[in-house]
Symmetry: none
Subunit: 153 residues, 2 copies
């Protein structure tokens, strides 16, 4: 499985370390197994993360913008300076930068939510509430959800 799926609730220890769920670790390419990137979610008070391969994709895309345009600077600043790289230790744990913890309101426990090609980290209660809310929103448009689930490729 090469997708981030399911949810996990892991503790943050005294040193600030938290285990990246084992199944998430397996999604990371063996080459860059020990490095992940984290950034603030645009839409929600959560942290998003993924392997470094994704960052290189983003870099390529930004590089294709007009070098002297304002957009270039805006993207470059908003993305590269906001992204942090973190090392996963041999036990599969990593440190969440203080600023990101504040942004997400995470203190002693982090909730990991698989999102396919990336994952989100939430303060547990807020994260659960968010999944309820988003499911509720989907059910309001049952038709579109049914389509999504039953449509064949």
């Amino acid at each position: 499985m090469d997708l981030f799926v399911s949810k996990y609730f892991n503790k943050i220890d005294k040193k600030g370390r938290v285990s990246l769920p084992s199944s998430f670790r397996n999604v990371l390419p063996k080459a860059n197994k020990n490095e992940i990137i984290l950034y603030k979610s645009i839409k929600t008070p959560s942290i998003e993360g993924c392997g470094v391969g994704r960052l290189k994709e983003i870099a390529k895309r930004i590089n294709n913008l007009d070098f002297f345009s304002e957009d270039y600077d805006d993207f470059s600043t908003s993305i590269f300076s906001e992204i942090v790289t973190t090392n996963v230790d041999k036990e599969g744990r990593f440190l969440i930068p203080e600023e990101l913890k504040l942004y997400a309101g995470i203190k002693t426990e982090a909730a990991f939510f698989g999102q396919g090609h990336f994952f989100q980290m939430w303060e547990p209660k807020q994260g659960l509430k968010n999944t309820e809310d988003s499911r509720r929103r989907l059910l309001k448009e049952k038709k579109s959800l049914r389509m999504m689930l039953t449509q064949q490729k």
Copy 2:
């Protein structure tokens, strides 16, 4: 990781030295580990920096501008003639030329912002304000920023 990412706030000591963030040092090619180039940003009151290898890329970008336009001369002059090379000492520190410090309003502390293939140095408060502004501009076109971050290869 071979990109300048994340942000750091480092102090400038009595002698004018400042540490190049460790993760930035690792981006520099091993061959020219101890040399970086600095120049005034064209669009903002900040200093931009990168490894010497990047010079060729900058030259290429400028060459892609219309040779007979006023922009060509302006960019060419503004960038190339203003470039200074600086040596990084064994502890990873370097001196910011006085003129550049004045240009960016940097005094006792420098903020380093990763920008992918180069980095920027700001007076801390101005730098933070700049990232906020630039993010605000992008969020007005939420779709484009989101695309940049989530689009799949």
